[in-house]
């Protein structure tokens, strides 16, 4: 396995005539947490959704350039999009538990992937909830509705839910934007632990969060990748003035 897991070259994302990403070049390294920061509407989420091809669901979506994941161009015509999305689990800004039980939420993706049998599913659900840091809180009420959980618990459920699909990558789109500091801390703890088995891309509008957990950080602005580098470097000695301005809160 090479050190570079995702190789993005000249990526532009269009929706109809509107261009949201401008010729990005970016590498994601295996088992790192790559933080992506930037003001609203800078293309951070669009970038994530280009990686798992969720942008395909939007009418008029079109890309230029290439994204190569594990040596394969994911926009090649013979790519199985369903397979691809299993490989890149995604957690969204608002926790979206499906209207079913906690157990069934976690088992949802696994069932789609063809996992059958009560004992297998039981073990998988438990393992995923443990990794997501939620098991202790819900182990006695797996059959209750996931909608009854608190916001922070729901978000950890969403994390556990993608882990049950056994992805290689975890994409997080501002996962803690609606959560209290303690829930945020729990999620960040889980991410640090998960890093050893997964490659993680964390989009966040909280620059301090990137500083806390990301190995490298990329700064997006208006659909451009301004710069990317080791987190410590980006936060202490950015090479671009715009990065410095953003981190100092001069705009955004």
């Amino acid at each position: 396995m090479t050190a570079v897991a995702i190789e993005v070259r000249g990526l532009s994302q269009y929706f109809g005539a509107v261009r949201k990403l401008n010729a990005l070049d970016l590498d994601v390294r295996r088992n790192e947490i790559l933080g992506i920061i930037g003001p609203a509407r800078s293309g951070k989420s669009t970038f994530l959704c280009a990686l798992n091809r969720l942008n395909d669901l939007v009418r008029g979506s079109r890309i230029e350039g290439t994204i190569v994941i594990d040596g394969r161009d994911i926009y090649a015509p013979d790519v199985d999009v369903v397979e691809l999305r299993r490989k890149l689990g995604m957690v969204f800004a608002t926790p979206v538990p499906l209207p079913r039980s906690i157990f069934e939420n976690v088992a949802f993706g696994a069932r789609l992937a063809g996992v059958r049998g009560r004992t297998k599913l039981d073990a998988l659900v438990r393992d995923s909830l443990e990794k997501g840091g939620l098991w202790e809180e819900v182990k006695d009420r797996l059959a209750t509705s996931a909608l009854k959980l608190s916001g922070g618990q729901q978000q950890r459920l969403c994390l556990a839910r993608i882990l049950a699909v056994k992805p290689e990558f975890i994409l997080l789109d501002e996962p803690t934007s609606g959560l209290d500091p303690i829930s945020t801390m729990k999620i960040e703890d889980s991410l640090r632990k998960l890093k050893k088995d997964y490659t993680i891309i964390l989009v966040t509008n909280n620059t301090k969060q990137a500083a806390r957990v990301a190995d490298r950080t990329a700064f997006f602005l208006n659909g451009d990748l301004v710069e990317v580098g080791p987190t410590a470097e980006i936060f202490t000695a950015p090479s671009d003035k715009r990065t410095d301005d953003y981190l100092r809160g001069r705009f955004g």
């Binding site: 669901l57 009418r59 369903v82 949802f108 969403c158």
Partner: protein, 279 residues
């Protein structure tokens, strides 16, 4: 004219709305009370379980209950899958282009056509052209066409009200479009879809004009879907219209009302149970 103060205005508005509600509920209760008072004394187990005799002057209404049930069941069996399928296609599989709009507009126009026109259409197509004769089959098909627009419309609304985020999440977890539709969208939309179907059952039970043209008005017990039959509403219409037996007519009407009330109450009960289970 002097303006009323906001407090007085509020009082007047509240009273007016209260009276409006009272009138609506009052009319409904009056109709139910009126029918039941005249119909209930006629009702007995015998009335329900014997076939009409002497044109309906004597005997019960058993064959008309069977006719109505068969016709409604057939109509729903055809219209529900077709309608729900169309609604799924329109909402989930198209981008909402001109074709979708034309289909939707067509369905809406269809909903506004008087039922007697459907009856005439069914008579020409099914009864004469396709030679099904006056039969449960002709009647069921005609009713199905009549119910389709309502079922499409209500199902579409129910499907559209499923949060888009559910779909995104389902796709992101590696589901195909069809899996998303069957495992996420439909379970969430089911209460709305079923409500539409139940409304259609009620409409089909009460329908007279479309069925008299296509299913006929034979009083004997139907033996197959090619038998002509008389539904309860048609039976009521003929008994009252030809002055055969007013008391039996009211008896039939009472059963009709009780049946529709019963179906509605049962559905809401089941729906509540379902919703509690899934949310």
């Amino acid at each position: 004219m002097k303006r009323l103060g906001p407090r007085v205005e509020q009082k007047v508005a509240q009273t007016t709305l209260w009276v409006m509600t009272l009138v609506t509920v009052g009319v409904l209760l009056f109709i139910i009370f009126f029918i039941l008072r005249r119909g209930l004394p006629v009702l007995s187990l015998e009335f329900l379980t014997t076939n009409p005799a002497d044109m309906g002057k004597a005997g019960g209404i058993f064959s008309t209950i069977v006719g109505m049930a068969a016709l409604t069941a057939l109509a729903i069996l055809i219209a529900a899958p077709l309608g729900v399928g169309t609604a799924i296609y329109l909402t989930e599989y198209t981008w909402g282009g001109p074709v979708t709009r034309v289909i939707r507009f067509g369905a809406e126009c269809l909903a506004g056509i008087p039922s007697i026109i459907f009856g005439l259409f069914g008579f020409i197509l099914f009864v004469t052209k396709l030679k099904f004769g006056w039969s449960i089959l002709s009647g069921g098909l005609t009713l199905a066409f009549m119910l389709l627009p309502t079922i499409i419309r209500t199902s579409e609304e129910a499907i559209k009200s499923v949060p888009p985020a559910y779909r995104t999440v389902s796709f992101s977890l590696g589901s195909t479009k069809w899996q998303t539709v069957t495992r996420v969208v439909l379970p969430s939309a089911l209460p709305g879809i079923v409500t539409g179907i139940v409304l259609s059952v009620g409409r089909s039970i009460g329908e007279t004009a479309a069925t008299i043209f296509t299913a006929g008005s034979a009083l004997r017990m139907p033996t197959s879907i090619f038998s002509s039959t008389r539904t309860m509403s048609v039976h009521f219409y003929i008994l009252a219209r030809e002055g055969i037996s007013m008391s039996n007519a009211y008896g039939t009407a009472a059963i009709l009302i009780i049946a529709i009330l019963g179906i509605n109450i049962m559905t809401y009960y089941l729906m509540n149970k379902f919703i509690r289970k899934y949310s």
